[in-house]
């Protein structure tokens, strides 16, 4: 992907391009049933600085299935570039052979069959093994957590993030930034941060009333004779994408000029390397890298992209380390005379059957889960279909959730948020209560029931579509298109806001949506204060119990044009 020319243009040491690609030749070894932990961890030490990046764990302590997106449409300058390349095009771009472990880890292609071959991925006990191994080779390595760590599971919800805090404290990161952490509320975040044995960074977290910086913007680390500034960038659209009333004291935003100021400040302090630990989302980071001068490395997060090579923007490298504990990135850097001279990078896939669990971390995870074990593991039903969410439009998990909402709340139309978290289940898997929580867990899960006019529904769809398909990344919030049950539509992703969405129709009857007419609508994850209704996980559980076995037919209610 990175050509030698681009590399030289970046004026980094040309030697470092060797091994810059994160995936080695171990697919051949895997085919011979010889894939080992040693091969996954193999890395020729390079330079003098090592960064370890993990992000968007979404409280997944145990190994999971996670199907990567079948659709991840890029618009404007992002068209056709990673991470907006999926499936076989992705395999071609990165020279990956179909059917290999890399293909399974990084794309949706043949997911069920390959899942059965290569097993689940992730697990924080396996992550701990990888981190320890890197630290054994490079004791001065910095471990940096990109946020969305405390949220996403039943145990994290029941313990208000404490299980994840305990696990991460054991993993001993050097710094983190934040997004869903804030959905536990200001008081809870402050309580955790007060006792956190590492830095909680956010240069863009401001006091909402006085518009002044509210959290530590950066921390300077001295490692192996090198001074490294790590600047935190929390999710910019916190009060818009998530309920503002839960953390009303704070304002966020991209605040590009603030980022430049902070970079200038640490550069003036004479640091050798500037790292931005970001929860901006990949496209926003790409734009920010092109406009803010002086950042060497952006460790990106939020949009859950796993890219096997660094992406170069000017002299900045962007590292995208996936989600849900599926990957850990190791980035070795040659830093001399206050300059990054070269890098070597590996996106390490956490194959749970290959990497040995760290016994201490495994015991800690089991202890965290023990008080809730019976609730977590109770079987609610089984699935005959692959259940997944990730992708720009409706996944099968979303269809199931929308069916549950419509049926349990007696509504014509269901709305379900296009979040990117939520692991998959394979056909034949049991659906446990924990599995349901993994795709619904949140502090504002009430399922409302209301009436909306056709015009309002259209406005909602246009609004969300613009958050995803605005050609200026700074106007994108991340996340995917809102999921709909009971209503279909056509979307032209190439059009501007107000003219992307058409052909709204009820799926049961085919009847076109009338702008002036009212429809019963139920949904969850409302950002409005005072939303009432049963919790989404209870609604989904009740629905699955009635079905016993879940089977979902392909959903053709959304037509996508303008590609």
């Amino acid at each position: 992907m990175i050509s030698r020319r681009e590399f030289l243009q970046a004026s980094l040491a040309a030697t470092a391009i060797v091994g810059a690609s994160g995936f080695g030749n171990w697919s051949r070894l895997a085919a011979q049933q010889a894939l080992t932990e040693g091969q996954l961890l193999q890395f020729d030490d390079f330079g003098n600085v090592t960064l370890i990046h993990i992000t968007d764990i979404h409280a997944q302590l145990k190994p999971i299935w996670f199907r990567e997106p079948e659709r991840n449409i890029g618009v404007g300058e992002a068209t056709g570039k990673p991470p907006h390349v999926v499936g076989s095009a992705f395999l071609d771009m990165f020279n990956i052979t179909p059917g290999t472990p890399e293909a399974y880890a990084l794309t949706h292609e043949d997911f069920v069959a390959l899942g059965k071959t290569y097993g689940k991925m992730g697990g924080m006990d396996r992550v701990a093994t990888v981190v320890k191994s890197i630290r054994a080779a490079r004791p001065d390595a910095l471990l940096l957590d990109g946020g969305d760590t405390w949220h996403g599971s039943m145990t994290s919800l029941l313990t208000k993030g404490q299980d994840m805090v305990n696990v991460m404290n054991a993993l001993t990161p050097d710094a983190m930034t934040s997004h869903w952490e804030w959905t536990f509320g200001t008081q809870r975040v402050q309580e955790i941060v007060e006792n956190l044995p590492f830095a909680f960074l956010g240069a863009n977290i401001f006091d909402a009333e006085w518009d002044e910086p509210a959290f530590e913007p950066y921390k300077i680390f001295e490692r192996a004779g090198t001074r490294i500034a790590v600047i935190g960038q929390a999710f910019p659209y916190m009060p818009i994408a998530n309920p503002r009333w839960i953390f009303p004291e704070y304002s966020f935003g991209i605040r590009e000029e603030r980022m430049q100021e902070v970079v200038n400040e640490v550069r003036a302090a004479g640091v050798d390397l500037v790292v931005c630990l970001s929860h901006n989302g990949f496209d926003v980071d790409q734009k920010m890298a092109s406009r803010v001068q002086g950042i060497d490395v952006i460790l990106t997060g939020h949009t859950h992209d796993a890219i096997p090579e660094p992406v170069l923007v000017g002299q900045t490298i962007l590292i995208a380390s996936g989600s849900n504990g599926k990957f850990v990135s190791r980035v070795d850097l040659d830093v001399r005379d206050g300059k990054m001279m070269g890098f070597r990078h590996k996106l390490i896939p956490i194959f749970s059957d290959v990497i040995t669990p760290d016994p201490d971390m495994a015991a800690l995870i089991d202890a965290e889960r023990a008080p809730f074990k019976d609730q977590l593991e109770e079987k609610i039903g089984t699935t005959e279909s692959l259940l997944y969410r990730r992708g720009n439009f409706q996944g099968t998990w979303d269809d199931l959730i929308c069916d549950a909402v419509r049926s349990e709340r007696d509504a014509q139309i269901a709305l379900s948020p296009g979040v990117r978290w939520g692991p998959s289940l394979l056909p034949g898997d049991d659906i446990t209560r924990e599995d349901i929580h993994n795709v619904t867990s949140m502090t504002y899960g009430q399922v409302y029931r209301t009436e909306m006019t056709g015009e309002t529904l259209h406005t909602v769809l246009e609004d969300v579509a613009d958050n995803l398909f605005n050609t200026d990344p700074y106007y994108q919030q991340g996340g995917d298109m809102v999921r709909i049950g009971g209503m279909g539509f056509t979307i032209d992703v190439s059009k501007p806001i107000g003219s992307r969405i058409s052909n709204l129709a009820l799926t049961d009857t085919g009847e076109a949506i009338d702008a002036a007419k009212s429809y019963t609508v139920a949904g969850w994850a409302s950002v409005n204060e005072g939303t009432t209704g049963p919790q989404i996980w209870d609604v989904v559980e009740a629905h699955i119990r009635k079905l016993g076995s879940v089977r979902l037919d392909p959903n053709t209610s959304v037509s996508v044009t303008g590609l």
Binding site: W210, E212, F235, I240, G418, V419, V464, Q477, S526
Partner: protein, 139 residues
């Protein structure tokens, strides 16, 4: 301890006089307001910076600041509001900097425009889009 924003606001008031231009009967258009303010002088670019969020966290109170070193007056407009005029800030010779910050209500996604009149009578202009969104699905 740095000067806090609160202190800065108090300190800054000495040099700035703000006048709201809202007219409840006939809302002047952006073009009318601009031509009145500039006296028909064509606007250049550069030398004026608007700082505003790309997406408003709360459309009812959007923090906007504008800076135009050397300006004697800056007019701020919200192009998509029923009444586009927000304020005109005039800076006397004692003003330490030609910067103003305020919070404005934005009815919908729109451009916020700032026009500055310099001491020599020249005009510079800048605009930025602020999106006002329903929100709710970031993941």
């Amino acid at each position: 301890m740095n000067l806090s924003r609160r202190d800065a606001l108090w300190a800054g008031l000495g040099g700035i006089a703000a006048a709201t231009l809202a007219n409840p009967v006939f809302a002047a258009t952006v073009e009318e307001l601009t031509s009145t303010f500039t006296g028909g002088v064509a606007a250049g670019t550069g030398g004026i910076t608007i700082t505003a969020p790309e997406i408003a966290e709360n459309g009812n109170t959007v923090p906007v600041s504008v800076s135009a070193p050397g300006a004697v007056a800056i007019m701020l407009l919200a192009a998509g509001n029923p009444t586009p005029a927000v304020a005109t800030f005039t800076f006397g010779p004692a003003a330490g900097s030609q910067t103003a910050a305020t919070r404005i209500r934005l009815a919908t996604t729109q451009d916020v425009i700032a026009v500055a009149k310099m001491a020599d009578g020249s005009i510079v202009q800048a605009a930025t889009t602020v999106k006002v969104t329903i929100g709710g699905c970031g993941g």
